[in-house]
Symmetry: C2
Subunit: 229 residues, 2 copies
DNA sequence: CCAAAAGTGTTTCACGTACACCCATGC
DNA sequence: GCATGGGTGTACGTGAAACACTTTTGG
């Protein structure tokens, strides 16, 4: 079976830059390609778009097929269209970036992939296609956006300490933040729910746990509130 | 002649949201379609992407073909992929937004268009396809970005008065700005070149003209300067 | 009792904001 | 000389930034 068109058409793919955070640093998820081109090379998870799905659906499907990840924060990044970005033929790729709670995602390799693994954004191997360019745009977007939108919470467990939150911003923005000023600022925003729970099993005073109050944030946004770190 | 593929492929288009500014308000450029579907309806300029051009090249070409506009600030906005957005078949569209100096652009209609005209963003007619959605995202993006990047200058003549610049922000951000504070802020940024020229033919004291110092802005940006209105 | 991180207050300074008046020009 | 917008200075308050110590807990 084949499909005929009057004019030549580019192939269309999606690629996903998946960010996760652990105690040390910001990580991204790569798969090792099991097919040509770039067989054996690390690459962003992604694949061809089907005609019966939107781009976002396609990105979610590929992510689940190749890495087992479901239900994540996903947002469109940019569409890449350089003529020679794929050696096979003209391929245009719509990139997405995703934010996941790394601890929930022991990754498993699957379709078209030998392996899947988390890499620190500071030590990325050589990637297939123009994926390094895509990754660096995604990283830039994350850095820019995390200051003005509450994206950070997507990278943390539902319940987190203020230290974890601060650490998140320090890692993503790559600068130190004054502890007291950070706490004052975030608490003044009044978008966190203070829980009566504390972290467990630490060799020092246990820190209080908080939750992000998404409902309240939405209400406040409607009334002109602007999140900013 | 025809082209065959193993899998079905979506058609790919670009659409352009072109912004211009005049004394009254923010305007966008629309064309009246001369072919089906939506014949006679107003729509964003745009068209099918060819295999030998990038998306940006495609957007520039369509813009020139349909409206005569060349050399503009152009930036990718978003890629739209709803299944039913085009009644003919599956069409995915990459939207761009452009900023032009309206006074330089007496528009002319051309290819595939009966007519081309500027409309105030506050009174847009019913549009073809999902173009209203695209337009409203573009408008939102412009509002958001104009505060953090020196996009506004793209909408003004090379030489402009501080009043024109202030008016630009008032129109785009849809709020009044205090004259003295605005002038202090913009002059403190030190990114304008004060000219020894003044506006002509006004029935009151003539205002000094300024130019945006793009070179200096780039240098300052490298050193950590952040534009913000 | 020691180590390690939690948690808290105050001062300082810069900047945003609000506000009123004089100046230059064309008609 | 009057109408119109150009152009400037200052006082006040808020919020960012810098900084040090006490508290709690586990080992």
């Amino acid at each position: 079976m084949s499909y005929k068109y009057e004019y030549a058409r580019a192939a269309l793919t999606v690629d996903c830059v998946v960010f996760g955070l652990d105690e040390e640093d910001l990580k991204i998820l790569l798969i090792q390609r099991d097919i040509e081109p770039f067989e054996g090379r690390w690459a962003l998870p992604g694949g061809f778009v089907r005609l019966d799905e939107t781009l976002e659906e396609s990105a979610k499907r590929e992510l689940e097929e190749e890495t087992g990840i479901k239900k994540v924060f996903l947002e469109q990044l940019y569409t890449f269209s350089e003529l020679e970005r794929d050696p096979r033929e003209r391929v245009i790729s719509v990139a997405y970036y995703a934010l996941v709670q790394l601890s929930n995602h022991r990754v498993k390799a699957a379709t078209d992939a030998r392996d899947a693994a988390w890499f620190s954004v500071n030590s990325i191997p050589s990637l297939a296609f123009d994926h390094e360019k895509i990754l660096s745009l995604a990283h830039e977007r994350l850095r820019g956006k995390v200051r003005y939108q509450p994206l950070g919470f997507e990278l943390l467990p539902t319940k987190f300490t203020l230290r974890q939150l601060q650490h998140l911003y320090e890692v993503i923005l790559d600068r130190e933040i004054d502890k007291r000023n950070f706490r004052k600022k975030i608490q003044a925003m009044d978008i966190l729910i203070e829980l009566d729970e504390f972290e467990q099993g630490v060799a020092h005073r246990a820190a209080r746990l908080y939750k992000f109050d998404r409902q309240k944030y939405k209400r406040m946004t409607k009334n002109g509130f602007n999140f900013e770190i």
